[in-house]
Amino acid sequence: MPVETLRKQIQELETDIAGLEEKIRTKKAEKATAAAQIQARIFLERIFAPYMDGLCDVWGLSPEEGLSVLIKENVSLDRIANDNREALAEFLSQPEVRVITAVASPLGNVPDEGIKNKMTVLLEVMRKIRPELANVIINTQGGQKWFYDSLIGLRNILFGRP
């Protein structure tokens, strides 16, 4: 085959490959975003929100009020959990809890730096499904730091990171 023809074919192949690589990158990013959002949604709906609801049930506060108090007192969620270790151990031994932590593990195997990115995604999703809670975290001073600390603590409790 003539050299010029080969060069032309190679150029076309390289163009096709570049297009495919871009397509794969975009698709991977979309999938990662979708997966992160799904995990975030599951985490918020199945873990964070019920936990806050349970706390506030006992305290006689609305979730927004309870969340605001916790932020102001800088009491992270894991700290509360660690105050009652027996209940925590019993809770973690429940099969459905183990399933949900395995499925929705946005915090699992994520370093502290990665938690910040996860927190952004979680807040975005929270603004869609629980906007009142998201507003409290975003608008209250120290809210995002409290959320970050709470996520790290929950990661350590729920996903086995010390």
């Binding site: 190679i10 349970g54 706390l55 006689g60 509360i80 209940a87």
Partner: protein, 387 residues
């Protein structure tokens, strides 16, 4: 039919026939008698007579043989006494016929065979040497022309003999300076003659032919064997590695470079095609999509129990922490009831005001009566009020 069946005995399994003979008919039983002295005497006499008879026969045979020997000796004596007659006639004719020709003659039909033999005898009578020479031709004539007359046979034989004679004469005339006739009594001379003849007519031409058939040294061999020519060829780039800037670097170099580039491009093209196929497969991979699609329904399936567990866990943890007060102090819980459902759910439920009469189980959604007691009345669940 039935009577005949009864009379005929059943046939046995014997495969042979037995016959019983009355002893009175067969001569009765042979009596066993002991050997007496008279018997011995008789036997001795018989032996003696037999011996005498044998001796007589032997003597008769010997007399006959002697008579025959005497007769033979007499005949030999007569033969020896007869004087040998001088051999006046011709020596016995030994036909110089080969076995092959004899077989061919024997294979001929009787008529042809007789005519061939007659012709041969006639020819032999005229010219003995030529008769043997032309005999195979006569046999061939007989096989090719069956039914020919004796005259035709004779004419053919004469013609063949004439041809043979003419051929010999021509050959003798064409042989220049023929050597002296080889004496028959010197076989070594004949061998030498044959050797010279072989050497001149066969060996030398064969040697020349063999020499011409030997592989000749080719161009490249002579090039490699001669250092000067080798260096010169190297300079010219005949071996494909011409020196830089040499005379032979233009066309060959370009051609080699072109082929090398084409090969490299072919390899690169194959590599790119393989990579493209991998990327296409990766781009059309649906496994992650399926996983993401399955994640949400899976979460929904366990959402009820997990939500309740999480909420219950929060309530348990809340008792250990009092926001705005010292840790461990329980905040006012409000109106909280403890739910015990037949689905296994057990946990508190808090209301801002007084709890309603009926609530739904957070886990299975079953309607429960607040303040009721779980009993055997058929009610699926009952709930009791909390604090």
């Amino acid at each position: 039919m039935s009577d005949s069946k009864k009379l005929v005995p059943p046939k046995g399994k014997k495969t042979h026939t037995e016959m019983l003979i009355d002893p009175s008919l067969s001569g009765g039983y042979r009596r066993v008698r002991r050997k007496s002295a008279l018997d011995d005497e008789f036997e001795a006499e018989d032996d003696m007579q037999a011996r005498e008879l044998r001796d007589l026969r032997t003597e008769e045979m010997m007399i006959k043989r002697r008579a025959r020997i005497a007769k033979l000796e007499r005949e030999i004596k007569e033969i020896e006494e007869v004087p040998a007659e001088p051999k006046t006639g011709e020596a016995p004719k030994i036909p110089g016929i080969s076995i092959t020709v004899a077989r061919q003659i024997a294979a001929l039909p009787d008529e042809e065979r007789n005519r061939v033999l007659e012709t041969y005898l006639l020819m032999q009578a005229a010219e003995a040497k030529q008769a043997n020479t032309v005999l195979p031709a006569i046999v061939g004539f007989a096989r090719a022309n069956p039914g020919s007359s004796p005259n035709q046979y004779m004419d053919f034989a004469k013609a063949m003999a004439d041809q043979f004679r003419t051929g010999v004469e021509v050959a003798q005339k064409m042989t220049p300076a023929a050597p002296a006739p080889v004496p028959q009594q010197d076989p070594w001379r004949g061998i030498e003659l044959v050797r010279d003849l072989f050497k001149d007519s066969v060996k030398e031409p064969l040697d020349k032919m063999t020499q011409s058939m030997q592989p000749q040294t080719g161009f490249f061999e002579s090039l490699l064997m001669n250092p000067e020519l080798f260096e010169r060829a190297k300079d010219l780039g005949i071996f494909g590695s011409p020196r830089v800037g040499g005379a032979g670097t233009s066309e060959v170099d370009l051609r080699i470079a072109e082929i090398t580039t084409a090969n490299q491009l072919e390899i690169k093209k194959l590599d790119l095609e393989w990579r493209k196929s991998l990327l296409e497969r990766e781009a059309s991979d649906k496994k992650t999509d399926a996983l993401l699609t399955a994640l949400a329904p899976l979460s929904a399936i366990i959402s009820g129990p997990v939500n309740q567990r999480m909420r219950q866990f929060g309530q348990q943890q809340a008792s250990a922490h009092n926001p705005g007060g010292p840790p461990g102090a329980m905040p006012p819980p409000g109106n909280t009831i403890l739910i015990k459902c037949s689905c296994g759910f057990q946990g508190p439920m808090t209301f801002q005001g007084p709890p309603p009469d009926r609530v739904n189980c957070p886990s299975c959604g079953l309607e429960l009566i607040v303040g009721g007691v779980p009993g055997a009345s058929g009610n699926p669940e009952e709930a009791d009020t909390g604090t």
